[in-house]
């Protein structure tokens, strides 16, 4: 009971901090964020895709919405909406693949929202976002032909993957496409570090919406994440010192 209440206090305190930091004037300015070259190159790849009339491929992983690993896909969905807003009205709008039915429907919704905001709802095509397969390998195998057929210049892979994601990044590499990838899964992170051009490690994945300038609450949540990280570091260090001193 006590631990439950303590956990709720921490969660609501974090929510309060996100709202509070979100009220800071000028927070939208990305000077609050440290420079990560991967995001600079992602922005460049988005611009080049619109200029050259090539397509972007966004892949959201295989996590079901009722699994605890779905937060990485939620980050992917926010990024997808922004990417679709940026390049949705171009000649070749982004295509989306996922390995779960719920994610596929949400990816269609995210794209639809981008078209609605751009006042171009008549150009929206739900067939550009689909579940390519329900199992990890069938999902990747289903997404592979897209890289061949659709003249894709950049792959944005954000979600829960297994090491089989290497097949997708290698396919992109063979066609000289740019690959930007992040996952919450440790085996996928190791595989992406070796195969993707721009891999995101650890919590960098959760910074994607803030770096894509999706909104002030995204930057605020990143600031709260930093506070939490330092709290955990200090607590762990203090615990180790107290254990060594024989107090704990």
């Amino acid at each position: 009971m006590m631990y439950g209440i303590l956990a709720l206090i921490i969660i609501f305190a974090c929510a309060g901090l996100i709202v509070m930091f979100g009220l800071i004037p000028g927070l939208r300015n990305t000077t609050y964020l440290r420079s990560i070259p991967a995001f600079e190159r992602l922005r460049r790849a988005l611009g080049e895709s619109v200029e050259k009339g090539t397509r972007l491929h966004v892949s959201l992983g295989k996590s079901s919405l009722i699994q605890s690993t779905n937060t990485s896909a939620l980050v992917g969905l926010t990024a997808l909406e922004h990417v679709s807003l940026y390049s949705g009205t171009s000649d070749r709008p982004p295509i989306v693949s996922s390995g779960d039915g719920g994610l596929a429907l949400l990816s269609q919704d995210a794209q639809r929202a981008a078209y609605r905001i751009s006042d171009a709802l008549e150009s929206y095509n739900p067939d550009r976002a689909m579940m390519t397969g329900p199992t990890p390998f069938s999902y990747i195998a289903g997404a592979l032909p897209l890289t061949d057929i659709e003249n894709i210049s950049a792959h944005i892979l954000l979600g829960n993957f297994g090491p089989e994601v290497v097949l997708l990044t290698e396919s992109g590499e063979m066609l000289s496409a740019y690959t930007f990838a992040g996952s919450d899964s440790l085996p996928a992170q190791a595989a992406l570090y070796a195969s993707a051009q721009e891999p995101l490690l650890g919590e960098e994945l959760y910074a994607v919406p803030a770096y894509l300038e999706c909104g002030r609450l995204h930057i605020a949540s990143l600031m709260v994440q930093d506070i939490l990280r330092w709290t955990v570091i200090v607590t762990l260090a203090a615990g180790a010192v107290l254990k060594l001193a024989g107090i704990l």
Binding site: L74, L77, A110, D127, T132, L167, L186, Q225
Partner: protein, 205 residues
């Protein structure tokens, strides 16, 4: 405001599930489990809709005038054959399971083989792509931990110094993985809070 009704439902459901998880109030727990049951049903139906959509996309690809994709025909034949067999025999039928796994397992095993080669090739190319110390550290640590995990050095366990050194080395990836997982957990927490605060609304299309 975008999709006010969907946003209100998402926030209310999220808060009730959160409270039901942490507070031992029977009414909250009951509502929480009911909401989760609904979510499971919705996820199942979403899977069904996504499969129907996938079939529709493949039919479109096959009937397209330009860039007709004949591989879609194989996908459709395999899909309808599996569907018909599943409906006639039921998914729990031994013969049905044997046919499906006899095809699926070898295909996935061959993909695993391709994956192993792709990973090796990507690891070699890592040195071209990334300059500096990180690729070297990555490669050396991969080799060291492969040797340690193989059990090849277990004969040296009788030497106390080697045993201590090996257990210290074995702790390094565990510590690193915990560090990364802690970061992911904190990221997941703030992402969940953004949904509760309606900063992220992937359902607002």
């Amino acid at each position: 405001m975008r999709a006010p009704l969907s946003t209100a439902i998402a926030i209310a459901a999220g808060i009730v599930v959160l409270l039901g998880y942490f507070l031992p109030v029977p009414e909250l727990k009951m509502i929480r489990s009911m909401l989760i049951d609904w979510a499971v049903i919705v996820a199942g139906i979403a899977g069904l809709i996504a499969i129907i959509h996938l079939v529709k996309v493949h039919i479109k690809k096959l009937s397209s005038e330009q860039n007709r994709d004949y591989y879609s025909l194989i996908t459709l034949i395999a899909f309808f054959f599996t569907l018909a067999a599943g409906l006639l025999l039921s998914p729990s039928d031994q013969r049905f399971q044997q046919v499906v796994t006899s095809i699926q397992v070898p295909v996935e095993a061959s993909l695993m083989g391709v994956l192993a080669i792709s990973l090796t090739y990507a690891s070699i190319r890592l040195f071209q792509r990334r300059k500096g110390w990180m690729p070297i550290i990555f490669a050396v640590s991969a080799v060291v931990f492969l040797i340690l995990a193989s059990g090849f050095l277990s004969i040296a366990d009788q030497v106390p110094l080697v045993k201590t050194l090996m257990s210290a080395l074995n702790m390094l990836p565990v510590a690193g993985a915990r560090g990364i997982l802690l970061g992911i957990a904190l990221g997941s927490l703030t992402t969940g809070l953004r949904i509760l605060l309606a900063a992220d609304r992937p359902y607002s299309g």
